[in-house]
Symmetry: C2
Subunit: 356 residues, 2 copies
């Protein structure tokens, strides 16, 4: 169903410009309807001066009334001809950042608008500020993720492989009420935990291993994302503990700092400074976090290059890590910026856990 307030926010962000929204996640954000058109064209035209119109290939027809005009086209139709009846040729058109050249160049050649700009920031900025409905779903998605982590911990049994552990996670999520992964789960044992991009392989769990799970699910299309690092059957060494506790302190200091008006780059620095002062700065090789919603990674980073101030409704990850030969460790939560501070959406404990 058309989300009028969200559409209004996109138009206001774009100073009243007309927009042709083509990213399926942005179309879902504005209409509540997922359509995956593959190589075919999908568009939602929004203008301040006229009701919105959606352009959909007839292969993807649907029954629901979304509260907006839907124009179905055939493979043999000219998309430009159909668009030209709805776009104001005398004004600039904001198009999606990912609109492929095979659609954009013909639109330009036919002069469908007086100019073409990347219109995605207007939608991206709107999507970065979650409304009440979205916040409720994000909270539930992370609540399920907390429960799932407690179940995943039980998968840590003698001689299991990373793939075998990861392979059982989807069923667990589904039993808890989630519909899908938000991304393919990471399970990393031993030295693999020191590779931030490790994908589960046939590595067999052995005594003394680190066990890192970076996992998330989707609940009514909204994503969760959390990382915990465990130890298997053996007390970690002093250096391992020092590394773990530095990551934990960095996570908690950054989370504690989040409130409306602070800058994303300063949140990153809060965590990074602690790890750097602890002597492991060069082993923290990525940004502190990313925005998240219906996509696991949405526009907006918690990094040194994002100087925007956070506002209530922003939801992003806080995920410091140290990737050192003696210990790979990451601790990640999602956090919501509230009117007067923040709410951490994950409640699974941060403390060192040794699994027996």
């Amino acid at each position: 169903m058309l989300k009028k307030e969200r559409m209004q926010r996109v138009l206001e962000n774009g100073n009243g410009r007309q927009f042709l929204i083509t990213d399926p996640a942005a179309v879902f954000y504005l209409t509540g309807k997922w359509i995956f058109p593959g190589e075919r064209f999908l568009g939602l035209l929004i203008r301040q001066d006229r009701p919105p119109v959606m352009f959909v290939n007839e292969l993807f027809q649907f029954e629901e009334d979304l509260g907006l005009k839907v124009i179905y086209y055939k493979d043999s139709d000219s998309i430009n001809e159909i668009l030209s009846a709805e776009i104001d040729r005398k004004r600039i058109l904001g198009v999606d950042k990912n609109l492929p050249a095979r659609f954009l160049i013909p639109m330009m050649d036919d002069g469908l608008a007086s100019g073409f700009v990347n219109g995605s920031p207007a939608a991206d900025y709107a999507r970065a500020v979650k409304d009440e409905e979205e916040i409720a779903l994000m909270r539930e998605s992370s609540r399920i993720n907390d429960l799932a982590m407690a179940e995943f911990r039980k998968l840590i049994v003698p001689e299991i492989t990373e793939k075998e552990a990861a392979g059982q996670m989807l069923d667990i999520y589904r039993k808890l009420g989630a519909e899908a992964y938000s991304f393919d789960p990471i399970a990393a044992f031993g030295k693999n935990a020191a590779d931030p991009h490790h994908m589960p392989d046939d590595t067999v769990l052995k005594e003394g291993d680190t066990v890192l799970f970076d996992v998330g699910c989707k609940y009514h299309s909204y994503c969760s994302d959390m990382t915990r690092t465990f130890f298997y059957k053996k007390e970690p060494s002093e250096e391992q503990k020092r590394i773990y506790n530095l990551v934990k302190a960095a996570n908690e200091a950054a989370e504690e700092y989040v409130r409306p008006g602070v800058r994303l780059c300063d949140i990153d620095a809060k965590a990074r400074d602690i790890i750097t002062e602890g002597g492991y700065g060069k082993y923290f090789t990525h940004r502190l976090g990313h925005f998240i919603g219906t996509e696991d990674h949405e526009y907006g980073d918690v990094s040194s290059s994002f100087t925007d101030q956070v506002v209530p409704g922003n939801i992003f990850s806080i995920e410091p890590g140290i990737y050192h030969p003696v210990q790979g460790c990451r601790i990640e939560d999602l956090i919501l910026v509230t009117d007067d501070g923040h709410e951490v959406l994950n409640h699974y404990p941060h403390e060192i856990q040794i699994i027996d």
Copy 2:
């Protein structure tokens, strides 16, 4: 390593135009190197008048010497500034059909070329004609697929589910020397075989079921793709046999017809006419086939709307199907156009097989 002959063919197809190739599969085709840049920019600029140059984010640095100039850029660099030193501003630039607006619009705003066109056909037409190296790899990929089908047939045991059968296929492919799926395998039991897009689910195999496997692997990046339809524990009915044998006859008549100079639409018609004359035309709901190479679906269809003549080196699928309530059936092979006819790349038999 730079494939000079392939590059020359792309340039000739484009009448000497300069091209900025950004599709990872097309970059691999010309350089032998896969780079998946995610949201970041990747480009290979080819011009008749200068050696090629590749533009790669420093995150994706590699050691090999590809025999061409590689320019690494940082996230903080301006891509346009780096491109502008290499592109001839006074000439038109052919860009990839999928180049996203977030790259294309700034290139236009900065006037990096005198005009911008969709340059993909030049590369697509070159890729549609496989050279000797590619043909050898395609042959081997399909040889593995034939061996794999014989193994998959053994997965048909009492009460197995589609997902359980499909879940064992990757290991079988790997044991046979393939590196990956070319697409997620389709296993469809019973009525599910009548849905051409069915994905494996928890359907349990029962006596009298049809068993359809549509499967393929990658060998040194080159794809195979084959479908066979079996019967489980019960002689098919007369109508089931009639449907099966119509599909078989359509497949074989179309394959038999393939030689240089025949039109793709006429190959499609060869199969379609047989099924239509048999009375099941409306249950053959898709094109006869698609081109294939390093991607499972490449540019080029065997369908009524493609009137191009085939040439030696073309490789495509021939996959007639009937999706009728009493019997879903598809029989698919890959076929290579040779100098004087064709070579079917799959050798797994077409005959009705009843599995006990």
